[in-house]
Structures are given as C-alpha cells and as structure tokens.
C-alpha cells in the first residue's frame, strides 16, 4: 500500500533580480525585474507503508522544499500530493494529525521550558488520550531514555539530547508518517549512532513510514531501504542502495600482495596498478566473483595477502550528482 503519493510536483519561486551598485539600487526603487526559478521540477514518486526512504541531494537541490510541501507548509505551484490518501494542501489539519516532522536545524521545543512541558502542550494539541499518552511516552522513553533530562530546561540540553527530545515530540501522537530533515546534523559520533539506532527502532516497532533527508551518507547506509536522489529539482535516481551501487559503480577493487614483484593479468579483471609486489585489479561483480579471481591468480603466483575494496558510497553519490549536472548544463 502506498502511504505517500506524489505526482508531477512543481514548485516555482519568484526571484527579484536586482541591479548592483548605488545607481542600480536607485533604479530598483522604481522598476523591479523578477525571474521564475523552479526549486522542484516535476517530481513523482510513491512510498510504501513502513519503508525508510532516504531523500538526498546536494545543497539547494530541492529536498527541504519537497518535504515542506509534503507536510503542508508550502503550497505547490502544481502537481498532486497524497499522504494517507489526503492532500495536505486541501486538508492540512487531517494530514498533520497523522504526521511527525523533525527539522534538525530548528527545534520545536520551547527554549525556556522543561522538556516535559512541551510534551504536555503537544498532548493537548493532538488530543492524545491520557492512557495513550502514558503508553507512548513510556515506549519512547524505553527507546530514547529521556527520563534523565525530561525535567531540564531545553536551553540546557546538549544537541544530542535536544534531538532525542525533538524526536519524542514528533512521535508522541504516534503518527504513521515521520519526516526527518537532517536529523543527525551537527551531532557527534556517539549521538549520531544512537539517533540512528532510535530511528530504526521506531520504524520496526510501530511500522512508521520515514522519509529522511540528509547529507550524512552513513545515515543512508544504516537506515534506508530505498534512496531517492534529487538534483536541481529533478529526481535523478530512485532505487535501493544496492541497485544504485550496481548501476553507478559496478566495479570492485581487489588488492593482492604477492611474495615478489610480478605481473599477473586476468581476462575478466583489469590490472590498474602494479607497484612492486602489490597489484590492484578492478572487476565487475556480475562478471566474476572475488573468490574465483583470487583462485585463478593464485594458480600463477603465490599470494601473501588479499584485500577487497567496495566502491565508496560518497564517491557513488558524487558521481550521481555530477552526472545530473552534466545532463543539464
């Protein structure tokens, strides 16, 4: 079942063109030219219930704009969005009743109050029954361990604690869909690790559908079954991470240390460097397995040490971004 459906979504902005210099400034006082910019350019996709989907792209690609349209903050210029079968533009209140949103860069917690007080407010706003509230808070506490700082004023929380607080705040009314906009931004390694663990747990426990925008590819690797890559407002890739790797970077590298300097070619692998006793082979996964390759080579020369290098996810994503740029100069 598709819980989110987006078809032909377009968002245009008017940008006022200003002339530079003092003379330009005076001129702008009387005439202003504007140009239209497409932040999101004809995007369509559908997301199944219970999935975690990574929505990634370089800065200014249109990620946040899409998320804001999905959650009803922004009005699309054209196109259709359905969340749980309801359009957030036509029936905002009903959509957000079933939606949790966390913006990593901005907290929804009240700075001057204790964390628990913000939760009390949300309980009223979302009309959560006493029992459900208690159960949810109990479950979320199990996951996030917020008990130890629930009575601390938010301004005194660490960034990691605050993010946990924000996640709980977004989950209190047990929404079916959760949008996370850069949830690990600025967190240290430890906090990042725990936030990822929590996200996974929420997804498994309550079958929450999660859309995650991020610049941290570790998040993607750890969490997402599916990745949608967007650049300059257009979707350029959509699929599982493995598929993406196969498509973009089907090569792996095999590093072999022999006992002495030697050169051993192989028909299904390209020998890309020979440095004394060390040779590096590049091969395609679909043509030959690493085990077979090692076996073949070891017939010719004795092997001391082997190492296998997967394509790096950062490099893959960079390749994708660059392709996008080439496609549309």
């Amino acid at each position: 079942m598709n819980i989110i459906e987006v078809s032909h979504l377009i968002k245009e902005y008017k940008k006022i063109k200003k002339e530079s210099g003092l003379r330009g400034a005076v001129k702008n006082l009387f005439v202003q030219k504007s140009e239209t910019v497409r932040a999101v350019d004809d995007i369509s996709f559908a997301i199944e219930k219970g999935n975690i989907v990574g929505y990634i792209g370089p800065n200014g690609a249109g990620k946040s704009t899409t998320v804001k349209m999905l959650s009803g903050i922004l009005q699309p210029t054209s196109g259709e969005i359905l969340v749980n079968g309801i359009s957030p533009q036509r029936d905002r209140k009903r959509v957000v009743q079933n939606l949790g949103v966390v913006f990593g860069q901005r907290s929804q917690l009240n700075w001057d109050l204790r964390l628990g007080e913000t939760f009390e407010l949300l309980k009223r706003i979302y009309q959560i029954e006493d029992k459900t509230y208690k159960d949810n808070l109990g479950m979320l506490n199990e996951i996030f361990q917020i008990d130890c700082f629930i009575d601390t004023p938010v301004r005194q929380l660490s960034l990691g604690q605050r993010m946990r607080g924000d996640l709980v705040a977004a989950m209190l009314h047990s929404p079916d869909v959760l949008f996370l906009d850069e949830p690990t931004i600025g967190l240290d390694v430890e906090a990042k690790y725990s936030v990822r663990k929590f996200i996974k747990e929420i997804n498994q426990r309550s079958q929450t559908t999660i859309i995650l925008t991020t610049h941290d590819l570790g998040d993607i690797q750890e969490l997402c079954q599916r990745v949608i890559i967007i650049n300059e407002g257009k979707i350029i890739e959509d699929g599982s991470l493995d598929e993406l790797i196969d498509k973009i970077a089907p090569y792996r590298h095999l590093i072999i240390d022999f006992y002495q300097s030697t050169t051993v070619p192989h028909p299904h692998a390209e020998l890309i460097s020979v440095n004394e006793a060390r040779s590096v082979y590049r091969f395609r996964k679909d043509q030959i397995t690493a085990a077979r390759l090692i076996e073949d080579i070891s017939h010719t020369a004795p092997i001391k040490e082997v190492g296998l290098e997967e394509a790096k996810i950062d490099d893959i994503i960079r390749t994708v971004y660059q392709q996008g740029n080439v496609a549309e100069p």
Partner: protein
Amino acid sequence: MKKLRYYISVAAMFTKLSIQSELEYPFMLIGHILANSIQWVVGFATIKFVVDQFGSIGGWGYESLAFLYGMSVLSHGLAVVFYIQTWYMGYDVIEGEFDRFLLRPMNLVFQFLFSDFNLIGFTDMIPGLIVFFYGCAKVQLVPSLTNILLVICTLAGGTMIRGAVWMFCGSMSFWTKSTANFTDMVGELFERVSMYPITIYPKWVQAFFTFLLPLAWITFWPVKDMLELGITPIPVPLAVVTLIVGLLMFVGSCAVFKAGMGKYESAGS
C-alpha cells in the same frame, strides 16, 4: 461544543507555558514594570505641563485628558498582552517560524493569537490604572454598572482595533518578505489619535480616523460619550460601537492573516 472545549484547553496551556517561560527571567519583568510605570506617568505629566500652559487642548481640560490617557494606556497594555507576537511577524516570515503552526492540526489564526501570551503587557496596565483612576476621580465618573460596562466595552474594542492594525502591518511581511517593523511608527500614530482629543484635527482628518482607519474609536468617541452623557447622534452608547468596530477589525485582520499565510514560503530552499 467539544471542539470549543478542546480549543480552550489548548489556549489555557499556551497561556500557562508563556507565563512560565517569562517568569524564567524575573529581572526582565521587574525592569519592565519600572520602565513602563515611569514612562506612562511621566508621559502624562508632560502633557499636563503643556496643557497647563495653554489652558485646554481642543476644548479638553487636563482632567478629561487624564481619563482619555488612562483609557488609552490600558487598551495599549491589553493589546501588548494579546498581540505582542504581531511585532515580530516580519522575522517569523523570513526565518520560517510559521512552519511550526502549519505542522499542528489546529486553526492557524488561533495558534498565532494564543501561542504568545505576554505578561509584560500587564506592566503597562499598572501606570495605566493609576492615570485612569486619577482621571476617573478628576472627571467624577460614577462607578455605576453602566459606566463599568461602557469601560469594558471600550477596552475590549480598543484592544481589538489596536491588535488588528498591528496584525495588518505585520501581515504585510507575507507579501513584502521583509522584516520591516512598523510597530514604533504605528504606536506613535496610536498615541496621537488616542491620547489627544481628535477634535484638534480638521474635519476631514476626524472623518478619516472615524470611518476609514477607525482609530478614533479606540478611546476618543466612547470617552467623549461617557463624559458628555446623553448627547449622541445614535441611540446606542458609542462604547458599544467601539466594540462592534473592534470585532469587525478583528475579523478583517484574521482574514488578512489567513490570506498572507497562503503566500507564506517558509525559509531557505
């Protein structure tokens, strides 16, 4: 009915939390009490000094002016209590602060109006009450039930008119996308029209502030009516008209705010 109860319970919570967060900075509050008390009392004193030199202004002696002034400060204070968030709308628009309201399943205007209950506004009320009661004594206003009701109508209407004007100005930011803040300037205008009798202006200005931009209703007409009992061109007390004008302005400002939210573009890309 259930819906009303729901909204009231959220409004109560909003109010409670706003007050609590303000009490986190007690020195701010004390500072405001001092600053505002001195400001309005001295403010009235300067008017009195000037009027003493001239005898009267537009046919009003300083006794009536004190009553007018007190009434004006009171509705100003109330407007600050309920509408202070309108002062920062430009900032809210540019920084995307309205995102939060849009993400919650409640009426937007309601959230905007009730999310920030400002205790500091009450610090204006203290000097306001002092000057007001001083004025009441000077003009010998009888504390009859009618008079109390008239005062309440005036304050409620005046507060809504002030708040609506602030909200109109703040909502402009939805279209201009600038943080320009007109609060100070509009405040000056309010003072000129609500603390002095508008009879000092030419007829067309009086008409302008009565019918087009109805600031004369904040204090002037209802107070004039209360002081010169019985001489009204219409059969209802003018304080009631103030209340009606206030309600109309309120509805209008909500509509403009809503239209503005349609233009809202959040922050960043």
